[in-house]
Symmetry: C2
């Protein structure tokens, strides 16, 4: 069974206790699926005595989450776990099960992979960049390459988190975030909290939602799915509107779903980092405001803020959450959220207390308002170094028109997509309108898997990410093109990455 169209999957709060939850497809328009006709993928950990084999049917969207939920029931639960990113390092596991690899190439592929494992995971020909030590260009969809001035702020001498110099910097960061999100409504509220992008999901679940609330989750990959899992942790009932891998739920499907039930929130993953699929944010928000105006529009912008256009006020968004380490161009460690006045009102009107302490807006709202008013305030200690680095990266971004920034990212993305098409490679996001501008998920040619090319790319000074979406993990790589790699004319990261990819593919027998 393979999804041939978007599928509505209600999830019960008790999902964790069930091995698999039921699927209830709705009758929606069937579009051409991007999934190829391939057998189910079997992954296994061949290196461990207790052999774990998990059959992943492509039609079962949350097998990866089920894996998570079964961690603790395994005899040695964790060390055996093949968590998503480990496919970057051990995707050879998929090769060794032999699926989808043409026989005549399978052996060669395995041999290459074994050889690759011997390769020192260090750049052999590192490139000197700016004033940073020579290092391979980090062309994954976050963390990205950082500007020298941003990194310099990271080693700022120690200062008090309630001292006026730092308070002023933090205040400016919050004000500048308003500009980045293009909101001038004073009721909008930015939050910057130590954490990762994931903490933004908790903030939505714990502050905007209350237990028993309904959420419509538009699913375009691994991260959308995980957002749903987070919501359920807080007792929110989620309904996932899933698209086939590489596609996104369509407006008519979303409209139908919105009319079936009253949803407290709808979540949209603007760019799902696992697939590079871009959601049509403005159109979905317009639809929500027409069909279900009380529903809050909550956007996961972790892989989009700074590289994709977002007009917070104009598009009537309610929450956009992101992280520091992607197109914003600041090292990882900060959860960044913009909430609308409406979202804050809903938060204030909640009947139950926020279901988190560290992520509670009740604790953070006055602190953020005080910081922005340049007034010292304390709930939990922020990271002065990270906030200073964010201040520098935001100042750099805002020193040029945002329109130009988005146009630059679009142009770079087009160059990447054209170069890939020229050598016969396909994007996971198959339709041009579905394609993110800050990253590209690239299907490798049949018979070539990530371990065949990633070490070779590394030797050429380029780091790509392996696959993350379980259904296709061994078949694709991910290429991030965001931030200074796009906007700094002195950097040739993107062109170098394209050339390195061509060379690596040629080395393993593919004719570019």
């Amino acid at each position: 069974m393979r999804p041939s169209s978007a599928t509505v999957i209600p999830k019960a709060c008790s999902r964790r206790t069930l091995p698999h939850y039921s699927q209830r497809p709705v009758s929606v328009t069937i579009r051409a699926p991007l999934l190829r006709s391939r057998p189910p993928i079997h992954t296994s950990t061949s290196c461990c005595p207790s052999f774990v084999t998990v059959a992943l049917a492509p039609s079962r969207p949350s097998t990866r989450l089920d894996l998570f939920s079964s961690h603790l029931s395994l005899p040695k639960p964790s060390l055996e776990l093949n968590t998503p990113f480990s496919t970057e390092r051990s995707a050879v596991l998929e090769d060794e099960t032999g699926n989808i690899i043409r026989k005549q190439r399978a052996e060669a592929s395995i041999a290459r992979a074994k050889e690759a494992r011997k390769v020192q995971i260090e750049a052999q020909e590192p490139t000197k960049m700016s004033t940073q030590p020579a290092h391979p260009a980090l062309m994954i969809p976050g963390p990205i390459e950082f500007d020298d001035a941003v990194l310099q702020q990271m080693s700022h001498y120690s200062e008090s988190h309630v001292g006026q110099p730092f308070v002023n910097v933090f205040g400016e960061v919050l004000t500048n975030l308003r500009k980045l999100f293009q909101t001038t409504d004073p009721a909008s509220q930015p939050f910057v909290i130590s954490g990762s992008g994931t903490l933004g999901w908790d903030q939505v679940a714990a502050n905007v939602c209350e237990p028993g609330d309904e959420a419509l989750v538009l699913t375009t990959g691994y991260f959308s799915d995980s957002f749903a899992d987070c919501l359920e942790t807080y007792g929110v009932k989620t309904t996932q509107l899933k698209a086939p891998v590489g596609d996104r739920p369509q407006l008519d499907e979303i409209e139908k779903a919105l009319k079936e039930k009253k949803y407290k929130i709808i979540t949209i993953t603007h760019v799902d980092t696992s697939t590079g699929v871009l959601s049509e944010l403005k159109a979905v928000s317009d639809l929500v405001h027409r069909v279900s105006p009380d529903t809050l529009v909550c956007v996961d912008g972790v892989c989009s803020v700074g590289s994709e256009e977002i007009r917070f006020d104009e598009w009537k968004l309610d929450v956009v959450l992101t992280a520091s380490q992607k197109a914003i161009g600041c090292p990882a460690g900060l959860s960044i959220v913009m909430a609308s006045g409406k979202a804050i009102e809903v938060f204030k009107a909640r009947k139950t207390r926020p279901m988190s302490y560290f992520g509670s807006w009740k604790n953070w709202l006055p602190i953020m308002q005080n910081y922005e008013a340049k007034k010292a305030s304390y709930f939990a200690t922020p990271s002065p170094q990270l906030v200073r680095a964010l201040h520098t990266s935001l100042s750099q971004i805002l020193s040029r028109p945002l329109e130009q920034r988005f146009a630059d990212h679009k142009a770079a993305s087009q160059r990447v997509k054209k170069a890939l098409a020229d050598i016969g490679l396909k994007c996971v996001a198959g339709k041009p309108e579905n394609q993110a501008n800050g990253m590209t998920a690239i299907y490798l040619p049949d018979g070539i898997s990530p371990p065949d090319v990633l070490p070779s790319l590394m030797k050429k000074g380029i780091i790509f990410a392996g696959g993350l979406h379980k259904e296709i993990a061994s078949k694709y790589v991910r290429f991030g093109h965001m931030g200074v790699s796009v906007t700094d004319p002195n950097r040739k990261d993107i062109e170098k990455a394209i050339e390195a990819l061509k060379e690596s593919l040629t080395e393993v027998g593919y004719k570019c």
Copy 2:
């Protein structure tokens, strides 16, 4: 009404909805209270149109938490809020109400404070330290001064969070944390997650506890109280065993409390940063294991790990949580937790799912185990720069015997305490056995408040923290003596701080 002994205060989960919760003192041994006979403190925000006055009776331990809970019910909830640390900048408010200041000194004090507010909050005579730019010495109880090599790691070039070089570093960090906590039990489990120390409370509340569980909270200041607030957020029923300001609950009181009810956990704030009170960790843990062996011993070590001796295995501790920016000597931004095998077993046996997503051990346990096994793994993006900085600081700490480190901190603390006594100043933690070794909370002479000395200290290149404990906020300052300021023989931070304090007090008429 003033507490003349430790008081047991049951808190209902619905406490938030009540303006004040009831106090039910138990008959325990009465000891000499440290509180002086002073009228209630009144704080007010004189700078705002809507004047907020909060009467704080010393006998009401959670007025500060009540303030938090009432944020949103205020007309302009946040900007008016006098959050704890703002007393560092606006403690003059307390002066203007005139309490406890001798009449003949009050006017002079106010005049000085007004003048102080004009002072540029920048060092006038900055000191060059090591290779860092000249800056005032940060002698607050965290963040502390950092070593050059640690700060340099903060600006490490960007790298993949699942790349082998970083995975190796993260793995070593986890292994080194075992050494710092003095645990060799392989069942112990370290966690390092982007966040602040506060996130450690959430980790305990969301993973170790389940809704309805009972927690005995030993309260020695603001942070103990907040830990209780965090636990209640997750539905845990807390009973606070409170000591008068500057004291700690005594063993006989704790034993009595433990025998009255079966507690899932007991929480101990090893050093409460608001008071500098040191808890007797080993003795309390021994008591718990004798009287209530199923109760898990959970320690807030935010202001103690790295400066106070902690023997995780030997003392049979179950959770010790801390943060990066204090005695560990790494910039803020990391929540660090060590859990015992018993705590992990309790976690695995829970009947309900963890009540957090970002802070869930279900999500993080396999990741930490994989990292320590030098295997790439992903749940949420860590901060490579912060983890590398932590790696460097831990390597520095472990390059010398831990016993020597703790002895150095004790010796430095004794120098500080003796110097203070020599000039007639008293510690908030009045009894020698109650006094932390990494910080000192210092009562200022009568009639002198933090705004009288903090700007003057700043001009001399020394940053102290203002008061944090609401009951005494305008009467004391806090002096951190941890990390490189103690262990680096080239630094004279502590001596300089003592001299600067003497000079500043002399300037405002105090005879040292």
